[in-house]
Every structure is written in structure tokens, then in C-alpha cells.
Symmetry: C2
Subunit: 327 residues, 2 copies
């Protein structure tokens, strides 16, 4: 085990840039098996494997997360065109994980429980690896409200199905509510990056996080539907009035868990359709593929600028984009 | 689209053995895209592809669901040892699907939202394919309470984190509660099948379905833990007193959605550890692999006996196992 990184124990306080766990039991464990990654502290040298990680990108689809690492490897000039990126979690089919330089790319499946399992183990991995100054970005797909399909939404606040910025979970049979606040400076920095890119219509807005794709998002095309088109439109209108511009299924627990760990986090999702105009994804595969690449391009631009700024000796946390622009 | 199978419209009533959807919109749609399967009514002949399906097995892991179809293919004498089973959902990485004869095997990822998306599209697929007399079984892994690791639990009732047999979901921002009742005759039939198999310690008991693997299941080894070992043991003891013998993350919505569709359903999960004795999965990979095969062997035995009984002219729905035993 890696001693000395449990913030509460060290009294390192808020100024510490380490990834925090809030679990007094961890340091006393002889071994920590990160079961769903097929990694562990006794079987893997996590500081050697992951100690240099500064950026973690997470997304639902393993294929997309592999495509992202290939893209960012090329962008950062770290890629050997002949080398395939090995899946670090090849011993399991639960999640896929790829790494190039300081960038880690991890899939999380669909829905809050699936991403929560991954985040528990990712946070412990970053903690055991003694990572510092880590930024985590979720790149995903979503349904839009009142936006042209293909628009990218950087999440301002993640809200629940009642439009409240909160994530409720049950611990020992009792409800516990956690804040879903995200880093507003990071959201602004990402928005600035979008302005450097062509065809990257981008907004900062609220994102609704639901537990279900069909009835939970007022779709009319699920196996069950007990409401009318009118009811659906009324609900989407209320969401719009609450500042919601897109709907997905992971952002609330993502925001809550990153906040608890003092990790700067952002959610960048493309909208695949306008839910006020339909429910089914009828666009061609080529169009959908083009849309899905947009969060990757935007976050790739952000990482490249941050790394360029760091290489020029600027502080990554406060000056990244602006300094890079003027250089 | 496939007209005429929407029960409410036809007035076919409860006696109908078709898979039911409860959505008046479906029959009016020109096309139904099952997006997360990469299948659709306009692009695929669903009755030709799936019309003969009588058994659907679902489980979290795509690898396990492929292993299951290979196993059941051999057991039913339908396998060509030289042929690899193609993934019917090869156009997407969200779910994997395999078929041999009347058996369909589908992965569902981890957690309620992930299995719910799959079930919406599976129920629509079975409806469009005009399937009748379908039995669906979830084969999975779980944490046990007071059971020897490797014990198989057939779910009597799926209960929530407060030990109530209910599934609550939010529709149009309002909570809706659904019953998680499973088919008790099917559970009894599966229990009888377990008696034909060696080393298949099996119980019928309640299963707790949670939204989280770590804090939601009172584990002490997550990234966050705000309670003590004593609190954990107290919670597990309360669960045990409520008849709970295992904990997993999908059974409640699985039971609720199958019940709404009039599909006979069962949940068969092996316990990988006794949660009263620990949280981490420390058993060797070989032991864990052996445990994970047990639900497959049990459900394989059940399907084989049902099919043998059907081939001998008995009704599958009422006489399957008992008649097969006496023949």
C-alpha cells in the first residue's frame, strides 16, 4: 500500500493537489484489489505505471476511448504509428483503459452505477499512484434540448430529473445528498478552446442526468410509455426553463465523486439530436460518428494547449490557455 | 413495423403468451431503431432472425455471455465446433448478443440504467419478432450474506437497499413505483434442476439490488467510507433478517420490466464472497471463474430439460422438468 496520501490523516488540507480518498481503512489494507480494472497494489507498480498522469478522459464506449487515445497520441506527437495501444485492463471486459504520456483514457459503460464503480477504482488508482494536479473530463453523447444536433455542451451544473443540482445515493439504507458542482474555471477554459476550432458550436449550460434512457428521459419510443407527446414536450420545456440544454446518464455522480476527491472535473457532451423534435437516432452512422468526435477534438485541443503551456514553464492550473494563446 | 402485437390494442388479454409492450406509439412508427443493439425494423428482418427465440439469458459481462452461448450450443448438440458464434450486435460496443437455436444470450453491462436500456430494446425486439412463450433468466455474480462462497442464489424477491420489494424510477420528474415480483414456479423449477447437478449448492432467497458497489453495499474499501465495520455488520445483519442472502445491481428493474411485459423471469446469481467476512475479491482467478460458471451450468440444465420436454410433446410452460424427470 501507498502510505501518506490520505489527506485527513496528513492534515495536508485543501491546498494539497493530490487526489484525495476519504477512507481511513485504505492505508491499513495489506493489498487493494481494483477488481473491475483487474489491477491491484500487490500485483502492479501503480506509481510507476500511472504516477505521471495529469489528464484522465472518461467516456461510455470502449471503442471511443481507444479512438481518443490514438487521436491524442498523434496530437501530442507521442504516437508510434506502428504501435497499437494495449488495453491496460485486458484481463477484464468491464472497462477498457489506455494511456499515452500524461493522458489516461478509460471507458465507464452506461449509467450512474457503472461510472460510479469505475470512479471509485480510478480515484483509488490515482491515489495509490501518488498523482498530483489531475484534471478529469467526461466526453460523451447526449440528447439536446433546443440545440442544433452536433452542438457541444460543456456542463455548468449537473441536475437531476427534477432539475436540482444534487446527487442522492443510498448508504446503509439511508439517503445521502451530494453536491454536483463542477469547476467553473475549467468549463470556461474549455469554452475558450472551442473558439480555436472550426465547426465546434459549443455552449456552457446545465445538463440533466437521468437513471433511464427511455421513460426517464420522456421518450415516446420505449417498450413502455404511459404519457403523451404533449406531456413529453411540457417536461422538456420545464427542463429548458431550468437552463438544461442536454440530457445524459452519468454527469451527476461524476461531478459529486470528483468534487469529494478534490479533482478538477468537466463534462463535455455532444448532442446527437434535438429531443423536442424526436426520440430516435435517425442520422446516418457517418453523421453520428462525426458528432461523437467533437468532444474528443475539443478536449484534445485543451490538453495540447495545457501541455504546451506546462512545457513553457507556466503553471498548468491557472494560466494554461491564455498564456498559450499569447505565446 | 410489426402490427397487431400490442396487447392493449388487440384486447388479447392476459392469456396471450406474446411479449407485450405497453406503448401505443410503437405501431404507428414507420421504423423502430434499436439504437444500442445496432438493429432496426427497417434494416433487419427481426421475425426471421429472432422469431424462434424461447429462452433469453442475460448477464453483465459480454465475455460470459459468449461463453454461455458456446456452452449451451454444445449441450443442445447444435454447435459446429469449427464455427465461431458471431456477435449479432457487432456494429456497436454497448452490448453483445449471440444466438443458437431457440436461445439468445445478451450482455447488459453493470447497474440498473445499463440493463434497463438493454431490456427496453430486448422487449421491443421480441415484440417485433412476434416471439411467444419466452423465458428470460439473468445469470450473474453477487456478494453473499451468510453463505459459503460459490453458493448459487435463485431470487425469491428482489428488494431495494431498504429491503422493500419495489423498484422506484422517475418518469417526467415524478416517482413511479413498480413491483419486483418474479415467477415463483420458475424459481422452483430452477431449484429442482440444481439437484441434478454436482457441487451446485443452491438456495431460493431474497436478493438486494443496489445502485452502487462500494458505499451502496456497505463496503469498507471504496474511495469514500464514512461508516465503521460495526455499522456495516449491523446493516448486513438487518438485510439477512429480511431474508436477503445476496447483493447485486440489476435484479429490481429486471424483475419489474419483465413483469410489465408478461415475460416469465428468474434471477440466478452465484455469490463470489461472504460479505460478512470481507469486501475484496481475494479468491484466485481460477476459483472465481469456476464460481461464475455455476449459473451457466444450472440454466443450461434447465433449458436442456425444457427443450427435451418440448420435443417429447409436453407443454413447456407447465410440465417441463417434472415430466422430463419421469421419462
Amino acid at each position: 500500500m501507498t502510505p501518506g496520501f490520505n489527506d485527513e490523516k496528513n492534515g495536508a488540507g485543501e491546498s494539497c493537489n493530490n487526489v484525495l480518498v476519504h477512507n481511513p481503512n485504505l492505508d491499513a489494507m495489506k493489498e487493494d484489489i481494483l477488481y473491475h480494472f483487474h489491477l491491484g497494489t500487490a500485483t502492479h507498480d501503480l506509481p510507476a505505471m500511472f504516477g505521471d498522469v495529469k489528464f484522465v478522459c472518461v467516456g461510455g464506449s470502449p471503442w471511443r476511448m481507444k479512438a481518443f487515445i490514438e487521436y491524442i497520441g498523434r496530437e501530442l506527437g507521442l504516437a508510434d504509428p506502428k504501435t497499437d495501444y494495449p488495453n491496460i485492463c485486458a484481463g477484464t471486459d468491464r472497462y477498457a483503459m489506455y494511456k499515452v504520456g500524461p493522458v489516461l483514457s478509460v471507458s465507464h459503460g452506461m449509467g450512474i452505477p457503472s461510472i460510479a464503480i469505475m470512479l471509485h477504482e480510478l480515484i483509488k488508482l490515482l491515489y495509490h499512484a501518488r498523482c498530483t494536479d489531475v484534471t478529469v473530463v467526461r466526453i460523451g453523447t447526449s440528447g439536446g434540448i433546443g440545440l442544433k444536433p452536433g452542438t457541444v455542451v460543456i456542463t455548468k451544473q449537473s441536475v437531476d430529473a427534477c432539475f436540482q443540482p444534487r446527487f442522492e445515493q443510498v448508504i446503509l439504507g439511508k439517503p445521502v445528498v451530494r453536491s454536483t458542482e463542477l469547476d467553473s474555471d475549467l468549463a470556461e477554459e474549455l469554452l475558450q478552446c472551442s473558439k480555436n476550432l472550426e465547426d465546434m458550436e459549443t455552449v456552457v449550460a446545465n445538463t440533466m442526468c437521468t437513471m433511464d434512457f427511455y421513460e426517464g428521459q420522456a421518450r415516446l419510443d420505449g417498450a413502455f410509455c404511459s404519457y403523451t407527446e404533449e406531456d413529453k414536450q411540457k417536461y422538456l420545456k420545464e427542463a429548458y426553463a431550468a437552463g438544461v440544454r442536454n440530457i445524459e446518464m452519468e454527469s451527476s455522480v461524476f461531478a459529486a465523486m470528483c468534487k469529494l476527491s478534490h479533482i478538477k472535473a468537466a463534462v463535455v457532451c455532444v448532442t446527437l439530436l434535438d429531443r423536442q423534435k424526436g426520440d430516435q437516432l435517425t442520422s446516418s452512422q457517418d453523421v453520428l460518428n462525426d458528432y461523437q468526435q467533437r468532444p474528443q477534438l475539443l478536449v484534445g485541443n485543451f490538453i495540447k494547449r495545457r501541455i504546451n503551456a506546462m512545457n513553457r514553464g507556466f503553471s498548468s492550473s491557472s494560466h494554461g490557455v491564455d498564456k498559450a494563446k499569447t505565446s
